[in-house]
């Protein structure tokens, strides 16, 4: 068992090594995207129930003002990302492919766009639960993509203690650089955020996991780290899907999270570095989650950039700002190429969980012939959960979903490593998603019948 002290380059077992294509935006400093003519803020951009609007159409709101509040515990506050007028609350296209109730905001072109309630929050006198409550006020969700409400994650269940706080700065998705740029340009907010969260969790120590393709960031963080902060930078081998909570916990701490359990069950909490930096900014000058760093990249966009984007900015506006798309664009993704989601319409908004926008051309996207499985072992060697995707794939094809349970399908975290390596181009993880959804549905039906 590797201790936290004596380590060189840690990693998890299995996984894949896709080309990272990070050089497209590696050296682009964060640019501030101007406020566009219209911002669309879906009430549901996090895991959990949708937020409830607290403003009405026609109302003038200020940047950072609460416009929708959390509805229930697993939900999140939503703030105006610009000063302007609420022009509508209506159904709009959502990046998930559905139409979702959204608050439409028309930014005031003459407003200086200062923050609604600019202040620094002194957390030294706050109790852990008060800090968590404050973070909930700021509307923070996991910025890595899953968008799980942060205050929920930071609330340890009764009787459970947290020892380690893991900051996820792995960014193992190819193409994306938003976490990397945050490390380089926002390290002060990150350190403050770590301090806040450590206090909120009453945890012993924080570890920042960074992959070796960000050596300069590792050096910089080590240099700038405040001496009194119980925090350590952990260089990790560059490998996908190291950013998954289970893999990061294994890589940094050499602890396995038991099947079906959460990091908290091994006294660990994992947060994305963007979230931590946002929390730092919130306690520094009172800015809730109203903007985020988005890597706009890929061979299909004319000017790849790292942008600070007001939440709710429409994809079409980002495209126009980045010089437009090339003609041969075939797919536009929100998120990275391994776990992101394809977009059909360009009027969908950038949300809290949108870490990148990726434009793929017909060179990357083309129909591939599917061959039968030749049992080449590549998926078995890739699966970070040690499943047998080859076997699961043939069971899924035969729709033997119940048999898939015996092969631990529910432990699949849908990282897509199996589909990535499969030389027979079998849509493995795609079939697993369907199988898992059906099995969950079946289970829900059974428990209802009882």
């Amino acid at each position: 068992m590797a201790t936290a002290l004596a380590r060189h380059i840690e990693t998890f077992r299995h996984g894949v090594h896709p080309d990272d294509y990070k050089e497209l935006t590696h050296d682009r400093p964060i640019e501030r995207l101007p406020f566009m003519d219209e911002l669309v803020l879906p009430l549901s951009q996090h895991l959990g129930s949708a937020s409830r609007p607290v403003v009405s159409v026609g109302e003038y709101v200020y940047r950072g003002q609460l416009i929708a509040e959390a509805d229930g515990f697993v939900s999140a506050n939503l703030h105006a990302s610009a000063t302007g007028t609420i022009s509508a609350i209506e159904l709009r296209n959502h990046p998930s492919g559905r139409v979702v109730d959204s608050i439409v905001l028309t930014p005031d072109p003459v407003s200086p766009q200062t923050l609604y309630n600019e202040r620094s929050i002194d957390f030294s006198g706050l109790t852990p639960s008060e800090i968590v409550q404050e973070i909930g006020q700021g509307g923070f969700v996991g910025l890595g993509g899953a968008a799980f409400p942060t205050h929920v994650k930071l609330t340890a269940p009764e009787g459970k203690k947290v020892r380690f706080f893991l900051v996820n700065a792995v960014e193992c998705e190819p193409y994306l650089n938003s976490d990397y740029r945050a490390l380089l340009e926002r390290y002060e907010s990150i350190f403050l955020g770590i301090r806040v969260v450590l206090k909120a969790l009453e945890a012993e120590i924080a570890y920042v996991g960074v992959e070796m393709n960000k050596l300069d960031a590792i050096e910089l963080l080590k240099q700038k780290m405040p001496a009194d902060l119980p925090c350590e930078i952990v260089p990790l081998e560059t490998k996908y899907p190291q950013g998954a909570e289970k893999m990061l916990t294994e890589a940094v701490l050499d602890i396995e999270i038991p099947s079906g359990r959460l990091p908290i069950d091994v006294q660990v909490i994992v947060n994305n570095v963007g979230t931590v930096s946002g929390i730092g900014e919130y306690f520094q000058y009172g800015q809730p989650l109203v903007e985020r760093i988005v890597t706009v990249t890929g061979p299909g966009i004319r000017r790849p950039s790292n942008l600070m984007v007001p939440i709710g900015t429409k994809l079409s506006d980002v495209v126009a700002y980045c010089g437009g798309m090339h003609e041969n664009v075939r797919q536009v993704l929100f998120g990275g190429p391994m776990m992101g989601s394809a977009q059909r319409f360009l009027d969908v908004p950038v949300m809290k969980g949108t870490s990148g926008i990726l434009f793929l051309t017909d060179y990357e996207v083309f129909p591939r012939e599917e061959y039968p499985c030749i049992k080449c072992q590549r998926c078995v060697d890739a699966c970070p959960v040690f499943l047998n995707p080859s076997r699961l794939g043939s069971l899924a094809k035969a729709r033997l979903y119940d048999d898939m349970m015996d092969w631990h399908i529910m432990d699949c975290m849908e990282c897509g490593s199996c589909s990535y390596v499969c030389p027979s181009n079998i849509p493995l993880v795609q079939r697993f998603r369907v199988a898992k959804a059906l099995l969950r549905e079946q289970k829900a039906r059974e428990s209802k019948d009882e």
Partner: protein, 341 residues
């Protein structure tokens, strides 16, 4: 303002894929068989080329015939051609062409297509074809000639014999190194075995070329190096132990390693991904099993050579190996795993 994009494709993640597909892997194996075939041509002349063509034609015919109506022609993935070429490399250079052709047909139909085609076969198809020929034409499968390196056209009349007729052309026959070991206790110099100037089937002769081709495939990650390494290690170990016990009765480890079809079998046949285990631990066991069986058949069995049956037997054990070597999944309790089905 445009709200609708260009023709945007809606698929689900991952959107990135490595570019080497199954057909690419299969053709890599085919290309790496070319040097082995060239060596066979050097030693056995045009006969090697004709036999290989006959086997490939035999293997390709049913694959093409049964796939001609489906939209995807399975011939293009190259796996049928591997089967044909490998079968040819296991044949004595004096095999009549019609037998070679028939062997190819049997290899693909009984070895692969009746199981459902590529990916579904339990046994290595080339070895199924070879086992059929061994059973049906034992005499032809054990008639060996000495190689004639660089000879211009050693085209024997036997080669063109008509089906089921006894060829009346005689060749100067000889024994393979393994047969002379078994029946006359005569050893063959290792240098001859390495270079291939001994009697044997087309691909049994030059050990060095097969090893180099295997090395290339292993580096390209087309074949799993664990299988041949485990076979070699087991064979060498067992042979060394026996040689140490009684050097007058048993052959040296290097003799066992470099003679017969061990190289060809270990590098090109045992490594067939479809019929070998899917777990890495399983591959070590699979290779060790082959190694043990090879030695058992060669030393204690009635046949001089046992690579073919060793691989076929371990092919049959593969599903069992897969089941027992399934890894403990991430986060799974060690104790619970043993009691689960």
């Amino acid at each position: 303002m445009p709200t609708k994009g260009p023709q945007l494709l809606l698929t689900t993640s991952p959107f990135l894929k490595q570019r080497e597909d199954t057909a690419f892997l299969m053709w890599q194996v085919n290309y790496s068989l070319v040097p082995v075939l060239l060596v066979a041509v050097w030693f056995f002349g045009i006969a090697a080329l004709l036999l290989t063509s006959a086997c490939i034609a035999g293997a390709a015919l049913p694959e093409w015939f049964l796939g001609r109506k489906s939209e995807r022609n399975t011939l293009r993935d190259g796996s049928g051609i591997i089967t044909g070429a490998l079968l040819a490399l296991t044949l004595p250079p004096t095999t009549p062409l019609w037998m070679a052709f028939l062997g190819g047909v049997i290899a693909i139909t009984l070895g692969k297509l009746i199981f459902g085609g590529i990916g579904s076969n339990i046994f290595n198809p080339a070895l199924v074809g070879r086992a059929f020929l061994q059973a049906a034409f034992p005499a032809a499968m054990t008639t060996w000639m000495l190689p004639e390196p660089g000879a211009s056209l050693p085209l024997h009349g036997r080669l063109l014999a008509l089906p089921f007729l006894k060829p009346d052309v005689d060749v100067i026959t000889t024994a393979t190194p393994l047969a002379s070991m078994k029946f006359d206790a005569a050893s063959t110099p290792v240098a001859d075995l390495l270079l291939g100037s001994t009697a044997g089937s087309l691909g049994e002769t030059s050990t060095i070329v097969i090893l180099l081709c295997g090395l290339y495939l292993a580096v390209r990650r087309v074949l799993n190096w664990r299988i041949p390494v485990s076979i070699f290690a087991t064979v060498a170990l067992l042979a060394a132990v026996m040689y140490a016990i009684d050097p007058s009765r048993f052959a040296t480890p290097q003799f066992h390693l470099f003679s017969g079809g061990l190289m060809l079998g270990a590098v090109f046949m045992a490594t067939d991904p479809v019929s070998s285990p899917i777990t890495q631990r399983g591959c070590w066991i699979f290779g060790a099993g082959i190694g043990v069986l090879v030695i058992v058949i060669r030393v204690f069995g009635g046949l001089p050579e046992g690579v073919m049956y060793a691989i076929l037997l371990m092919n049959a054990a593969t599903p069992l190996i897969n089941r027992t070597t399934q890894a403990r999944i991430y986060g799974e309790n060690r104790r619970r795993e043993r009691s689960s089905p």
